[in-house]
């Protein structure tokens, strides 16, 4: 068994060098941001030694940049810090809600959106919210930066598109257009501390008269990866989110879901509830877009 080592590089370049060295040596390295998933994994099944590469000392990973057309969220910023930004909450209330749902206050102080994404759990709360907001991953690697839509980033249960020489530096989100807002809802049996049984993120834009002119709907915990449900978006675009359109969107989400039955809920239950969540999230997003 190789032991553990820990390194906290101060620059992107240093981090990439370390990752490449490990790749070339055939040794394992793993990136640490908040650590709320990683430390648990180290204590259960996967306890083999490795190099832990902490990206919290990298300046760019801690950047929160409000651009004219887009917003950049550094990979090392914790949910608690993000939720203290009024500006960010105003722009992406749904995404922030999703980030706020990851675990307890204690977990909030550590957990990051990028970590939630890289962990690639089917039930990760921020993933549907990121997809609904057309989020893009900014990936640092040996040949520079590359970008990838969030819905393409997660490749399966616990797997993502990163090579062992890359890490996520942050997330890029287009700023919402006029009368555009988002919402994320998840279902858990308790009020807190659970993993999502189902989740739905909705972002939508309204015309002046309240007609939905654009929408993105994403669902989580009901398939191996979070899904962008275009049929659901189509169902509400052109409507004023009347009961009929919402029902169609809801059915589209239930139809797109391919859930499993496990200790957290039955497949049938998840399929039903994801539709309910889509409907409710859409209404919240609409109310926000109007306000």
């Amino acid at each position: 068994m190789g032991g553990y080592t820990y390194v906290a590089p101060a620059t992107v370049a240093d981090a990439l060098t370390i990752l490449s060295e490990h790749k070339n040596n055939g040794t394992r390295a793993q990136v640490l941001a908040g650590g709320t998933d990683l430390l648990v994994q180290m204590r259960s099944g996967d306890n083999a030694g490795r190099a832990i590469v902490d990206i919290k000392n990298i300046k760019e990973s801690n950047n929160l940049v409000f651009g004219e057309t887009e917003t950049f969220i550094g990979a090392a910023i914790s949910s608690a810090v993000l939720n203290e930004s009024e500006k960010l909450k105003e722009l992406f209330p749904g995404l922030l809600e999703a980030a706020d749902l990851i675990g307890s206050t204690q977990i909030q102080g550590r957990a990051t959106i990028a970590g939630n994404l890289c962990n690639a759990s089917p039930a990760g709360d921020t993933i549907p919210a990121l997809i609904a907001n057309s989020g893009v991953c900014v990936i640092s690697g040996p040949s520079g930066e590359r970008q990838m839509a969030v819905e393409e980033f997660v490749t399966g249960v616990g797997t993502n598109a990163l090579s062992s020489e890359e890490f996520v530096l942050g997330l890029r989100l287009p700023n919402p257009a006029l009368r555009t807002s988002d919402a994320y809802l998840r279902f858990i049996p308790r009020t807190e501390m659970d993993i999502a049984v189902a989740g739905a993120g909705v972002s939508l834009s309204l015309s002046e008269d309240g007609t939905c002119i654009a929408a993105r709907v994403a669902i989580g915990a009901v398939a191996p990866t979070a899904l962008l449900v275009e049929d659901a978006a189509e169902a509400i675009v052109g409507s004023k989110l009347d009961e009929g359109a919402l029902s169609k969107a809801s059915e589209a989400c239930s139809g797109a879901a391919s859930p499993i039955s496990d200790k957290r809920g039955t497949a049938e239950y998840r399929r039903k509830v994801v539709g309910v969540l889509c409907k409710r999230a859409a209404v919240i997003a609409r109310d926000r877009a109007l306000s």
């Binding site: 279902f187 049996p189 308790r190 807190e192 501390m193 200790k263 239950y269 509830v273 309910v276």
Partner: protein
């Protein structure tokens, strides 16, 4: 006999004497002790729920650097007979549970243990132990387990308590029956009969502190063990039996204990740590991970119940019958007895029949959990009564009032009830604002009632009067929920001195007399009685010392308000002598003052409870939100009402958790799938409303201050209260627990 009296401090709410250490991090719990030169002990656990152990080879592990001891069941004694107090059971089964012998009977069952210089080395050494298993089919479902065709956990298990010896072995370890009157006639006399079938899942006590201990054995074979336990004397007996040691060679020191609820009344680690230390010649510390706590300590039984109740149109019960099957886990000893005895206990019933089964399954061996067995059977009965009330269009509290037992009534479990407060609890519920408040749309209300016997058993106490008149109490019951405060209050009231001048300590097994576990709701009752008697011993001594001082006869001295005074009519020109006066002169009047008492307390007072539960159900997701909850219970007399309410609120929270979310989930191989607090979902702060408490005080005549036990009854009632409220909110009856969102939604959709 205690009547409504004006007490000086009983019923007040002073700060607990051990409080400061517990809010500053000073208090030492099971895992907080570190002795120099300590090794870490770790347990190898079975990856199978049911398998024969063909061989265990520890040689590779033992040869590793940093490994100092490796043990298997061969290193243990082969005890027979029974051990333990309230949770007494077969010593041989206990030994096999602590370390598997020929078979492993649940996933997580201990098969070997290691002591090493660090946790990492110990864990690596566990990986180096080679165990060959012959994997057998696990028996996981109680109904399947009871069938003739089921694989057997124990081929020598012949059902006990049958009229004739069983012809062949089975997984039914024992049966019991309770009956009275004539069931057929009773049901024939009924205008209405309700019946139902109910499943309640296996659930864990969920104490936040994992089991932990440190043991050190010297060259003379004398062992000292620090551990978190509900009863260090019983842990000592069990450890002595399992290791074939002389009790005199074992000293147990109870650390502070981070919750138990019955789960820390049996040993898991302690004998292992002693054995490892004996071999290694160094102290050995062992702590369980949360996962080990779930997989390998004793939860309470999953239970399958069938109940049938008959009544007249006016609500008078004419007959009731129950069939109750309790999972024992890997070894016999499910709480089917108390479950059977409690189910009909609150009601006047001439004609009844209860049959209960103790059933082996490949799951962890159950341990006590707050009113063991009663919540499961009460859940069934209290739902049946709710159904009955609905069919009769009768108020559910009125239905219970109509049939409630009172003093002098014959209990279905045997004795005649002494003075009890069930009707008072029901009346209090009926008059409670919670019961009168109108329900909001989408909300439902459920009520239920429950009973627990409470126990007495053995306790010891000593009272040391210091030279300035302050007092040190020594007793043998670990303080899980504020019992030091109650002991100090009772001593203060008895002696007539300030609460603040009394300190209470939990003596180790060498510094106070034998005491049974802190459990069975017995501590404030029985140990409290011992404390009061020990204080009375001091008063008698003080009177004698005053008599010597004053040159009068002892019977010419009285004790009043913490002072010796001359009895009325005694002509003595003396100043009263306070406890401090007497203590300061004790060296002149006969030496230090030491009072003591030991007893096997008789006459515990049964405690009844009634709950009102309001909740809202999300019709689209099936999620339940408890909006209001009122717990009403007869405490006899609340010595420290905060801690009585604390028991009521804590039991409510556990009961609601069990009702709504908590359950052991096993896969087809018998592996628990939710062995952590993430997926074994105990209530969090945001899940609950304030829990309103109403303490009824109908004094227990056998206790000097009227105390009944209060700790256990609170968990008996919330299961059915929640289920009845869900029925009220949705119109759909769900008999099985937990009332999880998928289950509720399925029922709602089925109803469309």
């Amino acid at each position: 006999m205690a009547e409504a009296v004006d007490y000086k401090i009983i019923g007040e709410r002073p700060v607990r004497p051990d409080g400061v250490d517990k809010v500053t991090g000073r208090a030492q719990y099971g895992a907080d002790l570190s002795l120099p030169n300590t090794l870490i002990g770790s347990v190898l656990r079975s990856p199978h729920a049911h398998a024969r152990i063909k061989s265990i080879d520890v040689t590779a592990a033992l040869s590793m650097q940093g490994v100092y001891a490796a043990i298997t069941s061969e290193d243990f004694a082969s005890p027979d007979g029974e051990v333990g107090g309230e949770a007494a059971g077969s010593a041989s089964d206990l030994a096999k549970n602590v370390m598997a012998t020929d078979k492993v009977l649940y996933h997580g069952h201990a098969v070997a243990a290691i002591a090493a210089s660090t946790k990492e080395i110990a864990d690596l050494a566990l990986d180096a132990i080679v165990v060959e298993y012959d994997v057998l089919e696990p028996v996981l479902d109680i109904d399947e387990a009871m069938k003739d065709t089921a694989p057997l956990l124990d081929p020598d298990c012949y059902t006990q308590n049958l009229p004739e010896k069983a012809e062949k072995p089975s997984n039914i370890a024992s049966v019991m029956q309770l009956s009275g009157g004539n069931l057929e006639e009773g049901f024939a006399a009924a205008d209405i009969i309700v019946e139902g079938e109910y499943n309640i899942p296996m659930a864990h006590q969920g104490y936040i502190e994992p089991h932990a201990c440190t043991a050190t054995v010297n060259e003379a074979g004398q062992a000292t063990v620090w551990c978190c336990t509900q009863g260090h004397f019983e842990f000592r007996s069990m450890t002595a039996a399992l290791l074939g040691m002389n009790i005199a060679d074992l000293k147990f020191i109870a650390s502070e204990i981070g919750g138990g609820f019955g789960g820390k009344t049996v040993v898991y680690l302690e004998p292992v740590a002693v054995l490892l230390s004996k071999i290694a010649g160094r102290p050995v510390k062992m702590t369980m991970s949360r996962e080990e706590v779930f997989r390998a300590t004793g939860p309470t039984s999953g239970t399958h119940c069938k109940v049938k109740v008959g009544a007249k149109k006016d609500g008078t019960l004419t007959a009731a019958s129950a069939w109750l099957a309790y999972e024992a886990g890997a070894f016999a000893g499910a709480p089917m007895g108390p479950g059977a005895m409690c189910i009909f206990a609150p009601y006047k019933l001439e004609n009844f029949f209860v049959e209960a089964f103790d059933v082996l399954v490949n799951k962890p061996k159950v341990a006590a959990y707050r009113a063991p067995g009663a919540p499961q059977s009460a859940h069934a009965m209290e739902i049946a009564l709710d159904d009955l009330a609905r069919e009769l269009e009768m108020d559910p509290i009125d239905l219970r009032l109509k049939n409630a037992v009172q003093e002098g009534d014959q209990a279905t479990y045997g004795p005649k009830f002494p003075r009890i407060g069930f009707k008072e609890c029901l009346e209090a519920a009926k008059n409670h604002p919670n019961y009168k408040t109108a329900l909001e749309e989408g909300t439902g209300r459920g009520v239920s009632a429950g009973f627990w016997f409470n126990v007495g058993m053995q306790s010891s106490a000593e009272v040391h009067v210091n030279e300035n008149g302050t007092v040190t109490l020594v007793e043998g019951n670990p303080d899980i929920g504020g019992s030091r405060a109650s002991m100090c209050i009772m001593a203060s009231e008895t002696l007539g001195i300030e609460y603040e001048s009394i300190r209470a300590m939990i003596g180790d097994t060498e510094s106070t007399g034998f005491s049974n576990v802190t459990g069975g709701s017995r501590t404030t009752f029985a140990t409290g009685m011992a404390v009061v008697q020990a204080c009375e011993d001091i008063i008698a001594q003080c009177k004698a010392r005053a008599a010597v001082t004053w040159g009068v006869d002892e019977d010419q001295v009285e004790w009043q308000d913490g002072q010796a005074i001359p009895a009325p009519g005694v002509n003595a020109d003396v100043k009263p002598l306070s406890l401090a006066d007497i203590a300061s002169q004790a060296h002149k009047t006969g030496g230090p003052l030491l009072g003591r008492a030991s007893l096997n307390a008789q006459g515990p007072g049964p405690s009844f409870a009634v709950n009102i539960c309001d909740l809202k159900v999300d019709q689209e997701t099936g999620k339940v939100d408890v909006t209001a909850f009122t717990a009403i219970q007869d405490a006899g007399k609340a010595i420290h009402p905060d801690y009585v309410e604390g028991q009521m609120q804590g039991g409510t929270s556990q009961g609601l958790g069990w009702a709504l979310n908590e359950e052991y989930i096993f896969d087809a191989n018998g592996v628990m799938e939710n062995a952590g607090f993430l997926d074994y979902r105990i209530p969090v702060a945001s899940d609950l409303p304030m829990i309103d408490c109403h303490i009824v005080e109908v004094p227990n005549p056998t206790h000097p201050f009227g105390v009944r036990g209060v700790g256990e009854t609170p968990i008996v009632t919330p299961l059915a209260a929640a289920a009845n409220a869900v029925r009220d909110a949705t119109g759909v009856r769900i008999n099985d627990l937990p009332l999880s969102p998928p289950k509720i939604l399925e029922a709602l959709d089925g109803n469309d």
